[in-house]
């Protein structure tokens, strides 16, 4: 969602965004529509084409699914930066480091990049987080983890709780921006 909001800035820096998931085209189209994602979402069933070769495949969950990840590829195709989640709920609270790495590549802006336009029927995943549940869900995470952080004694654990709270806050802000566009 943050990347969706940041897409124009990334284009200015010469970087585009493509997503990959194990889901079908139809479910990807539903996700794009649900969260107003302006970049392509490709289908990689079983992770055989992209996720497994990139070592971003978690065979232990749901019969196999990708680790949430961001891999920055330079214009020569080489990997420049990688974020890989530690679990299903782990996301970067900020894309600052990604932006820093893209800036360091010193690329020319990408012009006239047209938004992604899915062309298949939308088929909703009944287990997907609903739009109307998004706010309560992440507010719960934000306040719950903030409260937990106040109780934890171990410094590392407290930092983890705070990081989760910040991530939830970033998602809430990100969705606020998406909805407004």
């Amino acid at each position: 969602m943050q990347l969706a909001n940041d897409l124009p800035r990334l284009h200015e820096l010469g970087c585009d965004v493509v997503a990959v998931s194990v889901d079908s085209d139809e479910r990807n189209a539903a996700m794009a529509e649900r969260w107003r994602l302006p970049f392509p979402i490709l289908s990689d069933p079983g992770g055989v084409a992209v996720m497994q070769p990139l070592d971003l495949w978690n065979p232990h969950e749901r019969g196999g699914i990708g680790w949430p990840a961001i891999v920055l590829l330079g214009s020569d195709g080489r990997e420049v930066l990688r974020f890989r989640a530690r679990d299903f709920a782990d996301r970067p609270a900020s894309c600052d480091e990604l932006f820093g790495a893209v800036r360091a590549l010193a690329l020319l802006p990408l012009h006239n990049v047209e938004p992604w336009v899915p062309a298949v029927p939308v088929v909703e995943d009944p287990s997907a987080l609903r739009v109307d549940a998004f706010g309560p869900y992440f507010r719960g995470i934000r306040f719950g983890t903030r409260g937990l952080a106040g109780r934890l004694v171990d410094e590392h654990d407290r930092a983890e709780a705070i990081a989760m709270s910040e991530m939830a806050a970033a998602f809430l802000n990100g969705w606020k921006v998406r909805r407004a566009e």
């Binding site: 820096l13 010469g14 139809e26 992209v50 070769p53 680790w67 330079g74 420049v80 974020f83």
Partner: protein
């Protein structure tokens, strides 16, 4: 709901159409291997100071999920060049993935021939 059948990718990556015959190897994907030229971008996040523990290494050692709990945005630390196990396989960029472009296929070679950089996002259906 149906959307237009325009294939935006083809417009994004016109070079793919004319020049995309090479495969994209693991070596190309992981520039930290010793015989590759150093890139200033690799300085980010003190990459070389973070002990890397690849998924497959972790599975081999613990039989469970990886424990590289500090692997965050900066996880481009070198795969152990002496260990094949630590090196991921090759992405066959000669293949295509289905996309939601009304049956249009996304040519993975586009990921190599992109004019600029590309942030490849691994998504899950969660959120």
């Amino acid at each position: 709901m149906y959307f237009s059948s325009d294939n935006a990718i083809a417009r994004l990556y016109p070079a793919v159409k004319s020049n995309g015959d090479s495969l994209f190897s693991a070596r190309a994907l992981h520039p930290c291997t010793p015989d590759l030229p150093q890139d200033p971008a690799h300085k980010f996040g003190s990459l070389r100071e973070i002990p890397h523990f690849s998924t497959r290494q972790a599975e081999a050692v613990s039989g469970s999920q990886p424990r590289d709990s500090r692997a965050r945005m900066s996880d481009t630390s070198p795969r152990d060049p002496g260990s094949d196990m630590a090196r991921p396989g090759s992405v066959d960029f000669g293949t295509s993935l289905r996309s939601a472009y009304g049956g249009a296929m996304f040519d993975l070679r586009a990921l190599r021939r992109v004019d600029g950089a590309l942030a490849l996002v691994i998504y899950r259906g969660d959120w």
